[in-house]
Symmetry: C2
DNA sequence: CTGTTAGCGCCTTCAC
DNA sequence: GTGAAGGCGCTAACAG
């Protein structure tokens, strides 16, 4: 019942019916034992040059690839790391995913990805469960929820959070952007320009980074003894920035706004323009992220830059130390952020 | 030498020293054979309710997770699909990655990701090799190279390309954006407004989508019998759009430009502004992608919209049919693109 | 330096 | 409806 693999057409799932070539096949072809094939593949030095050569030839001839699942069973480790992140094509999450994958691959591990649909506890737990079912050696987590409740059975693998403390019991490593630094720079920059206070468009409440950014903004204002306005909530999209912006544009007392990300800032700026208010002459705007296009807007966006790639690289580095037993868990590190001043901030209009 | 797992602190890699709970452990706890545990886990109906209950209790109590690597060895399939894509946080690749992951997860498969560093044959082959070493059941490929040379040993798994034909011998499935449709709409729209011809900023030559977009632009102009200008090359970034734009801005004969993606269009628009030329009064601009912020620019960007999510979903659907043996390989499908007219296109200035 | 034996955890025969 | 035996492909221990 097996498909003739030398047939010219491609009928049906050849890869399922045709058994993969195994180490035993290679051994037979090379005239050695299967164990010797294994030694060659794992670069064990205790193999004669002659045997190594014959085995290598057989490997090439047969197109042999070691079965990583079988190796995983034997070794009790899949040498794979899973990332649980939020399913968003926005610049932040996308950069973090890419940087994490590269760091993981560079460390010689495989990389599994699960995107959550929503940012809530259920999505998070489902995604985590899926990753653990797939047998990852460690989990990296980004932005999945701020309302995590502790698990019954504890996690069997180390966890790295790239987005704040998760309260995942003791097994945890945290590397995150220190959003406070850049945001207080931003608020102080605006106050120094003469603004009485700074308004804020927050991200969704469920996102840890929204909460942190709002808190950083609030505390900078408080520290300066300024009035703390209500912070309307967007959903990170330019469209939500536009909607919120229409309301803000109608209020004469608004002279400076800090948006929780650049894309909402873009929507906001457009809403202000449509309402006949100029940026930065009437209203100053600061974003967050420093997306690549921020510097090339008709008014180049003043924004808080974060180094997500650095955070991911450092996080994976720490994770490797934990996996190698060279480090205890429980470390928390912060990667600084800083303000990049461009063209959307200026002194408020004279009253 | 095993770590006491009830100790309060976390010293060293607990997950490595503490053996995971196996089906045999569950069987012992439930007073049944390991085979019965396996039946419960795989939802085999031939288990008595009483046994099922006892096994389920033991599973919950012990926190048992079936070892997926062991299952893969036995079944000869990892039920995992790998995506090989270009390591870019740009909107296009990021959307495609997320959509592919979701479709793959929804189909009950695990998802592995490898980002290539460069868009060239070597990166591509390394990434592909890494994915195959990890034992994926199928490979999805996006944008890795246009200079693919055929493999010696053939691929042992089905391949889905989301970015044009790969010439991977016979084992191939293609679902791609039909960029021609939207781009000829764009060119014709500009010509109908009265522009004599349309200039083009291309993406890097190595990218299949650059080549296709340039060809679509060229052929639309040719079809209309218009002059075909040289097409300078950017790297997809706003910054490269700006650089190319500085040159274009200096040329009085340029009245309409089609940029191969929205981000280069943004850089281009800024360069034109810096040179004192207005969009769309002096020069009309069309982008490609319809990124979320395009509609919210101070001049909302006219652009060609592509449905990447739809392409990924459809591609994975076809791939599942191939994996299930319900479809032969060799299918090519196209997902249409269309022009979205906004505020950056207008009639050329009177001469 | 090399081969033999054993066993990782799972699922598929095949008995009962 | 259930269990015992066997083997997927691999690597660790142990001979030789």
């Amino acid at each position: 019942m097996s498909v003739d693999s030398s047939s010219p057409g491609v009928r049906g799932p050849r890869s399922i019916s045709a058994r993969r070539v195994s180490g035993t096949d290679v051994a037979r072809a090379a005239g050695v034992s299967q164990r010797t094939v294994s030694r060659v593949v794992t670069d064990d030095p205790r193999v004669s040059p002659e045997a190594r050569r014959r085995v290598q030839e057989a490997i090439d001839a047969l197109g042999y690839r070691p079965n990583s699942a079988a190796r995983s069973v034997r070794l009790g480790s899949t040498r794979t790391i899973g990332l649980l992140t939020v399913g968003s094509a926005a610049y932040g999450p996308a950069s973090l995913t890419i940087a994490t994958e590269r760091a993981v691959s560079d460390a010689g591990y495989g990389f599994r990805l699960v995107n959550t649909v929503d940012v809530d506890t259920e999505s998070f737990e489902n995604g985590l469960s899926s990753l653990l079912d797939q047998g990852v050696d460690a989990v990296v987590v980004n932005e999945p929820t701020s309302t995590f409740r502790s698990r019954r059975h504890g996690l069997e693998v180390p966890v790295l959070s790239l987005s704040g403390v998760l309260n995942l019991a003791e097994i945890e490593l945290v590397v995150e952007s220190d959003e406070t630094g850049g945001i207080s720079e931003a608020v102080n920059h605006l106050l120094a320009l003469g603004h009485e206070t700074v308004h804020h468009i927050a991200g969704p409440n469920e996102w840890p980074s929204s909460v942190r950014r709002r808190e950083a903004w609030r505390s900078a204002l408080e520290h300066a003894g300024r009035r703390i306005p209500d912070a309307p909530e967007g959903d990170w999209s330019p469209s939500s920035g536009y909607e919120v912006g229409r309301t803000l544009a109608a209020r004469a007392d608004v002279t400076a706004v800090f948006a929780a990300n650049d894309h909402m800032a873009f929507g906001l700026i457009r809403a202000l323009q449509d309402a006949g208010r100029s940026v930065p002459e009437d209203i100053s705007i600061v974003g967050f992220d420093d997306v690549p296009e921020a510097a090339f807007m008709p008014r180049a966006l003043t924004t808080v830059r974060q180094e997500l790639t650095a955070a991911a690289v450092r996080g994976v580095e720490l994770l490797m130390e934990v996996l190698d037993g060279r480090r205890d868990q429980g470390t928390v590190e912060k990667v600084p952020t800083h303000l990049v001043i461009r063209e959307t901030t200026a002194a408020p209009p004279a009253r």
